[in-house]
Amino acid sequence: MLTIKNLHASVEEGAEILKGLNLEVKAGEVHAIMGPNGSGKSTLASVLAGKDGYEVTEGSVDFEGIDLLDLDAEDRAKEGLFLAFQYPVEIPGVSNVNFLRTAMNEIREYRKEDKLSAKEFLAKVKVASNLVELDDKLASRAVNVGFSGGEKKRNEIFQMAMLEPKLAILDETDSGLDIDALRIVSEGVNKLRSKNNAIILITHYQRLLEYIKPDFVHVLNDGKIIKTGNKDLALELEEKGYDWINEEIAK
């Protein structure tokens, strides 16, 4: 589904952050990417989602046979990519349902599908908001304005449920969540897992991976994936930190 080869990216007119990253994600898989602060995790999410301000200097990203880097951010979403933000943006005056209706209609138009009827749309809103126990009222309120930290993260998964992406990148979705919210968000994500889609979890903590079981755990350090393992690797990281990997590599 996603093949990243030798990806180099830097902040525009600035330092190189990704320094030759390789990653292969297949349908049905969940990949966790862990790594110390400043290792490039959020940059990877931003580059994949198409945020301005980053420059890809080398390498390629293939998404279902399409050159992802060649697409505008909105077209990446239309092709089935989704990014759950680490810090969801507050948008005063724009309601969740209002922009999601616009988004879903534009996505359907892009895919040459029929428009969603008002009834179908509202039925989806209901299912998706139930999935993350998001109050119906929040769905119709201005995007993230006055939402608690937990509500903002649940709102990200609500949107994921509405848009049904092929590949979802969850950027530190667990940060700032209490135990209950973490459980709700994780259960929501688990229900959205299927053999046809894939998830990349970017996280600092092993805790999230107890709820959402990854097939692979990657360690990102200094812009490269330096170790890949199964979910036991996350436990090991939790216990020992990151330094031992560097030492192991040095040997």
């Binding site: 909105e74 239309k78 933000f85 948008i91 616009t102 848009l163």
Partner: protein
């Protein structure tokens, strides 16, 4: 002997028709004009709005006929009073059966009452030109303790080039009455024409008046409006000013609150494109205690347009326990658009709650990116953000027919959906 006219104002009005009435108001305005000059940008109140090149031109007072269907608002179901180039057009107007409303010629307004009411209020050269040379207008009376059965639609149309429209209106909301006025401004083939309107009124005790002003004249006309309202005890006044038209617009709005327990609300939305210049000057003068006022103006400026906001709230020494809130927020959609915002509070009382604030910014790039990651195009994302920004001001327009008309215009002219 030949008289040499060396006064720009007298030169400006030289060709206007002198009306042969005994009107004291006209006479006083004519006299006052003698000593007047047009404001320059050296005058603080006109610092950002330069009128020199417009007042050098000559304008004519001429009647015209229009197709009123082009300007009617579907389902408004209102008394419709049509003014073409400042002249009342009886044939195009419709006054419905309404025991709560009396609509007469402005000349029927009692001049002693009027002079008394407006004593010590300030005039400017444009309101004086209007009052000296007005060609039509209505005196609207909302009867005591009655609620108008229909909104009153004052429809102003400029038709023809280099025309000046001097319509003058007065609204008397009698004790305990309720009414809504819709004032719209349109133009057709009227390059270099000039709307110079005066709308004044008195909202008596316990009365409530709502005005929705919607100006959509073409971007080749000059629009000056002087609005003055006096509120008596326990009255309510709400005015929403929505401006998308005019090459240069100056909305001058003054409210003098002359009684306790009043509420005043002013909202404005202005949307500039190309080389439009939109200036909103407001004053709320609180003279008595226990009153509240709220003011919210929002601007979205694109192209090379210029916005000006100057809102002043004065709380006089004896006016205690006043709550006055004022805010002006602007979004610039282009690098070449600009806004000059000046919120002012003048407080002489010591027990008041007042706040004011002003912001000028761009669309939030983070928000645009966020929406794009959900599949929304850049254009739609901007449209959503602009609608979200200005929507709360438009929501103040409770008249559904007018609101639908506004939404339709925004969709047609800007591609913005609400």
């Amino acid at each position: 002997m030949e008289l040499v006219v060396d006064n720009k104002v007298l030169e400006f009005v030289a060709d206007f028709k002198k009306q042969d009435t005994e009107s004291k108001v006209r006479k006083q305005a004519l006299d006052a004009l003698n000593g007047m000059d047009f404001p320059t940008t050296r005058v603080e109140d006109w610092k950002y709005t330069r009128v020199a090149k417009y007042v050098k031109k000559k304008y004519k007072q001429v009647q015209a006929s229009v197709n009123v269907e082009d300007y009617t608002i579907a389902d408004l179901n209102a008394h419709q009073l049509v003014f073409v180039n400042g002249y009342y057009d009886e044939n195009l107007s419709t006054i419905l059966e309404d025991d709560a409303v009396s609509i007469r010629n402005i000349e029927d307004l009692d001049e002693d009452y009027y002079s008394d009411l407006l004593e010590d209020t300030e005039e400017n050269v444009f309101s004086l030109i209007n009052k000296a040379y007005q060609t039509g207008g209505v005196f609207i009376q909302i009867k005591k303790n009655k609620k108008a059965n229909y909104p009153i639609h004052l429809m102003h149309i400029l038709d023809g080039e280099e025309v000046i429209a001097n319509a003058r209106h007065f609204v008397l909301s009698e004790n305990g009455s309720q009414a809504e006025i819709v004032a719209t401004y349109h133009s057709k083939n009227s390059a270099n024409s000039f709307t110079n309107v005066v709308l004044e009124g008195n909202i008596e005790s316990n009365a409530s008046l709502t005005i929705n002003k919607f100006q959509t004249e073409a971007k080749d006309v000059l629009h000056m409006s002087n609005e003055l309202f006096i509120q008596d005890e326990s009255s309510n006044f709400l005015i929403n000013t929505i401006t998308t038209g005019g090459l240069l617009t100056r909305n001058g709005l003054n409210v003098i609150v002359e009684g306790e327990n009043c509420h005043t609300e002013m909202n404005g939305a202005y949307l500039g494109t190309e080389k439009q210049h939109i200036d909103n000057h407001t004053i709320i003068d609180q003279l008595y205690s226990n009153c509240t006022s709220s003011e919210s103006y929002k601007g979205v400026m694109d192209g090379k347009s210029v916005g000006v906001f100057n809102g002043k709230v004065i709380v006089r020494q004896d006016a205690q326990k006043i709550e006055a809130y004022q805010s002006n927020k602007n979004i610039l959609l282009s690098k070449t658009a600009s806004v000059n915002s000046k919120p002012e509070l003048e407080i002489y009382a010591d027990d008041v709650r007042c706040s004011h604030g002003s912001t000028i910014g761009e669309l939030d790039q983070e928000a645009i990116f966020y929406l794009r990651t959900r599949g929304v195009s850049v254009a739609s994302a901007k449209q959503l953000l602009v609608s979200g920004f200005i929507g709360d001001v438009l929501n103040k327009v409770k008249n559904e027919a007018l609101r639908a008309n506004i939404d339709q215009l925004f969709l047609n002219d800007f591609g913005w959906k609400f």
